[in-house]
Structure formats: structure tokens, C-alpha cells
Amino acid sequence: MFEGVPIHWFLVLSTVMFFIGIYGFLVRKNLITMLMSIELILNSVCINFVAFNKILYPGHLEGMYFTLFIIAVAAAEASVAIAIIINIYRRIVNIDVENMNEMKY
């Protein structure tokens, strides 16, 4: 128990955020907005890790390290994804997923 806030509140919050991200990923067509939905999903998972670490295992730091690694992987993923998006924009002028049906020219 975190001073009146049970762990369930954190878990419900991150679940809601996760599925909002899923909704955005399914609905959006623009590649950058899909990338933003993925950031939402990763962020909700980070909240889960941190809440589990602090409330259920206060003496440990595993959840914090996992969150740090998730943030690093998210940064790497965002940079590569944006390089790919800019490359696609240079070849076919818009960046909707429907126009991407070839892997190689």
C-alpha cells in the first residue's frame, strides 16, 4: 500500500493507457502517429514495472532497471523508425501505411 493508494489503481491506470495505445495503433494510418501509440504502450508497461517494484518488493531495484532498459530500447526504436519514415517519405511522398506494399524497389 502506497500511503492510501493500492497497487490496483496503478495497474488499472496502466491497463487503460495500454489499450488506448492499442486503439490508436489499430485506427491510425499515418506512420508517425502509430509510433506515438507505441510510445504510449511502452510507457504504460514502465508504470507497471515501477509500481510492482515499489509496492510489492520495496527492497529491490529490478523494476527500476527494467524501466531504464525499456526507455533505452524505446529511444533506439524511435530513432531507427524515424530514419525509416524519412526514407519512405523521400521515395513515396506521403507516409500512410497503405502505400507501403513493396519491400524493395
Binding site: 489503481w9 508517425i32 506515438m36
Partner: protein, 169 residues
């Protein structure tokens, strides 16, 4: 209602509302700004849980780095006044059904689970402890993942430079 409950509810309302706006806004630059609000209030949650180092990382790397990268690429690839097309109704309905069903299932499971919750430990994590855990090879040490992550970041950097540079032909 305690202070912590109030702050938690405030942050969670901000997170939920701005997440919804992020995935539904029709102007893409506004969507990126709403994403920034979501990430900043997530770092507020980390401050609430006394993970100060993690909250600072979240602010600098996520809110400072990734959002700026996304905004740059938005400015490079779309016009500022351009509005995204509204997705078709059937697609929205199917996606909403999938998301709501998944969320309801997960929330019901979470609320039925009993967790063994410890008393709250208000101490902050020492930066020395974090660094030693990150580089130790013993029990609870994370030296190998740390090195793997650094190689991954290097590979991502080289890869994105090669992908984004101009072709000769």
C-alpha cells in the same frame, strides 16, 4: 483523501485524457504535444513513488529526446495545417471493441487478484546503489544487459544514419 491519493488521481486523469487526445487528435503536431503531457505526468508518477533518478531519465530522455525527435520528423514530413483523414467508422468500431474488451478483461482480472502489499518505504534510491547495481556482475547485477544496451544504442545510431542519408543514385 490524502495528498498522495489526490496527486495520483490528478496525474491519472491527465494521463488518460491526454492519451485519448493523442490517439484521436486530427492535427498531428497537437497529438505530439499531448503525448508530451502524458510523458511528463508519467514522470510525475515516478516522483510520487520516490524514484527520482528514473523520473529525471523519463523527463530528459522521453519528454526531451523522443518527443523532440517525433516533432522534427513531423515537421519534415507533413504540412503544419494538414489534417489527418478521419478513419472509417467500421474500423473505429472494431478497434474500440477490441480495446474495450481487452481492457475490461484485464481490469477484472487485476481487481480479483490479491497482492501482498508491503508497507511503503519512503526512502529514495541512492545514485550510488543504482550505479553499482548497473555495473556489478554478481547477484542482482546488471552488467551484461547494460553492455548489450550500449551495443544496441550504437547499432541503432549507425543504422539510422545509414538509413537516413542521401543515396548517390
Amino acid at each position: 483523501m490524502t495528498n498522495n491519493q489526490f496527486m495520483f488521481l490528478l496525474f491519472s486523469v491527465v494521463i488518460v485524457v491526454f492519451s485519448l487526445l493523442t490517439v484521436t487528435s486530427r492535427r498531428i503536431l497537437r497529438a505530439a504535444t499531448f503525448l508530451l503531457f502524458v510523458l511528463v505526468s508519467t514522470s510525475g508518477l515516478y516522483f510520487l513513488l520516490r524514484f527520482n533518478f528514473l523520473a529525471a531519465i523519463q523527463l530528459t530522455l522521453y519528454a526531451g529526446g523522443i518527443v523532440v525527435l517525433i516533432i522534427f520528423s513531423i515537421l519534415l514530413t507533413s504540412h503544419i495545417n494538414e489534417k489527418l483523414s478521419i478513419p472509417p467508422v467500421t474500423k473505429r468500431i472494431y478497434a474500440a471493441i477490441a480495446a474495450v474488451a481487452g481492457a475490461v478483461l484485464c481490469i477484472l482480472t487485476i481487481l480479483q487478484t490479491e497482492f501482498v502489499q508491503k508497507t511503503f518505504d519512503p526512502s529514495r534510491v541512492d545514485i550510488h546503489t543504482i550505479g553499482e547495481g548497473m555495473l556489478s556482475t554478481g547477484k542482482y547485477g546488471y552488467a551484461l544487459p547494460f553492455e548489450v544496451i550500449s551495443v544496441l544504442l550504437l547499432a541503432a545510431m549507425i543504422g539510422s544514419i545509414i538509413l537516413a542519408k542521401k543515396r548517390k543514385d
